[in-house]
Amino acid sequence: MTEAPAPPSAAEAPPRRGAARAWRRFRRRPMPMTGLVLVAGFLLLAIAGPLATGDPAAQDYAATLAPPSGAHPLGTDDLGRDALARVAHGAQVSLQAGVLSTLLAMAAGIPIGLVAGFYRRWLDPVVMRLVDVTLAFPFLVFAVGLAAIIGPSLKGVVLALGFSQLPAVIRITRGEVLSIREMDYVSAAVADGASDGYIMLRYVLPNCAAPLIVQATVAIPAAIIGEATLSFLGLGVQPPTPSWGVMLTTAQQYLDVAPWLAIWPGLMIALATLGFNLLGDGLRDVLDPRSGR
């Protein structure tokens, strides 16, 4: 049994052996590994950083807009707050926005896509038209509308980001389901008398996992940039909460006297995004052999 012939398609490979093989292919490549290191660094900064750097709201009136020094390695802002502590706490806000909005989109989108793809005759056209309508609202319009209705906040940002990711999640899940439900093992389960719900959860859903994981590595960095952008515009996280976007708003006001404030929050956004992009490219290569790049 251990030397079974190669399975006919990736979708039918037993998940555990597939994962081990994917990891072996993944580990050898420099770019995805760089991405993995960057993402791990971002997670470390977001989780451990706030514990290590102290209070991001503590004000040092003797040192406002101070350049980097021993006491404040990244300098201080206009209110004398330590930029390092604020960068670390900002990572936490970024991580929340990225992960929560993606979870929200997955939690709502996967069941919709699953059911639409499975009952493609009567549910699918309705769902797909609704997806088209949602796609007609660019992300910023959602965000603007939500900020107008519930007021600018992290909650509004997460809702807007999650909602704007929803069409992609629905389309990906539905597309996978359409091909998976033609597989022999689904026909076998139907012949076996399994209920629709059982087939969807036991056979169809697990085989949708790979493209959805890849989608998450696209959605999380988009959400990180989205949160920073909205907060930068004043439509997202509100001061004094230290978001990278909010920090850059301050930095813009003092660009000529304290240029160091503009460097770190932006660099962190870029590195976190780059990390997820590289990781996503690598995962796509090993998990999704059809997209030959």
Partner: protein
């Protein structure tokens, strides 16, 4: 082809209709009296009364929607609560500014992105490819507004080559206008150049290994002609598709870029409207954005069908 266009246009109209219902309901879903909400916090009772009358807020919802649709279609988008000016007039003043910025940014994106994509594909796995691929990854990862800040820091604060912000209408002084628009256009265009570069590169790599390119080469055609006339032409569908998909990002990007460079365009209008809770303006900018978005996507679908006959024969632009 006519049938294809009609069907696509029909579904665009349906999408616009549903969107207008959503926008109409959105403002009425706000807690409190919509007339008070639309008038703003410190509004006079006479203004609230005027809004109630203008919008017919005492009528039932379906009748209100018919009124709203009629007013909108005849070009009456209400009045701004900030200065009582007609919203339609404000839009007519702000939109051309954003269209100029977007057009310049798209020009940057197409010239740099498609150019770099071709070079990277032709010189695959050599230095130009690595440079272009690195540029592509950086352009994808760096947020617009940070790039804008760095641009101001370098070109305006340190080198003092360009003004940091501000806007001069093109009709007033074209030189000054372009001098102030060049940095915003570069900033906005870079991200799209990166996306276009990556897509063009992979489409060109696919095309360059295709049979018809091998045939063209074996006929003894010059390499410039092989790349330009055969491979590039078949990669153009990708470019058109990507441009359509990225339109939403272009709108968001324009909003941010206008905010950084203090350009009085549509995007700055949007942000200011939300921050001052100017609901008639918010309603109008959301509607205009959705209309623009749906129209451009329709044009992209049609362009796509022209470039790729298989789509109009199978009759569907998406699957």
């Amino acid at each position: 082809m006519v049938w294809f266009i009609l069907r696509r246009a029909g579904s665009a109209v349906i999408v616009l209709f549903l969107a207008s219902v959503l926008i109409f309901l959105g403002i009425r879903a706000l807690p409190g009296d919509p007339a008070v909400v639309m008038a703003g916090e410190d509004a006079s009772p006479s203004l609230i009364e005027a809004i109630r009358r203008d919008y017919g807020l005492d009528k039932p919802l379906p009748a209100q929607y018919v009124d709203y649709l009629g007013q909108t279609l005849s070009g009456n988008l209400g009045r701004s609560t900030q200065d009582q000016l007609p919203v339609a007039g404000i839009l007519a003043e702000r939109l051309p500014v954003t269209l100029e910025l977007s057009a310049l940014a798209l020009l940057v994106a197409i010239v740099v992105g498609v150019g770099a994509g071709i070079v990277a594909a032709v010189r695959r796995d050599r230095l130009p490819d690595y440079v272009a691929t690195g540029f592509g990854l950086a352009g994808l990862s760096i947020p617009h507004f940070w790039l804008g800040l760095l641009g101001i820091l370098l070109f305006a604060v340190t080198l003092r080559w360009l003004p940091a912000s501000g806007y001069v209408p093109f009709t007033q002084d074209p030189g000054q206008n372009l001098q102030r628009m060049i940095l915003p256009a570069l900033v906005l265009g870079t991200g799209f150049a990166a996306i276009l570069m990556r897509q063009t590169r992979s489409a060109m790599l696919g095309a360059l290994s295709a049979d018809y390119v091998r045939t063209a080469r074996s006929k003894g055609l010059a390499e410039v002609k092989v790349v330009g006339a055969h491979a590039l032409r078949n990669s153009l569908t990708t470019v058109v598709t990507v441009l359509g998909l990225q339109l939403g990002a272009l709108i968001s990007g324009a909003v941010v870029t206008e905010q950084i460079f203090v350009i009085p365009g549509f995007g700055k209008l949007t942000v200011d409207a939300v921050l001052t809770r100017n609901y008639p303006v918010i309603q109008a900018v959301v509607l205009i954005t959705v209309i623009g978005y749906v129209l451009v996507n329709l044009l992209v679908d049609i362009a796509y069908a022209f470039l790729n006959p298989r789509i109009r024969l199978s009759g569907s632009g998406h699957d």
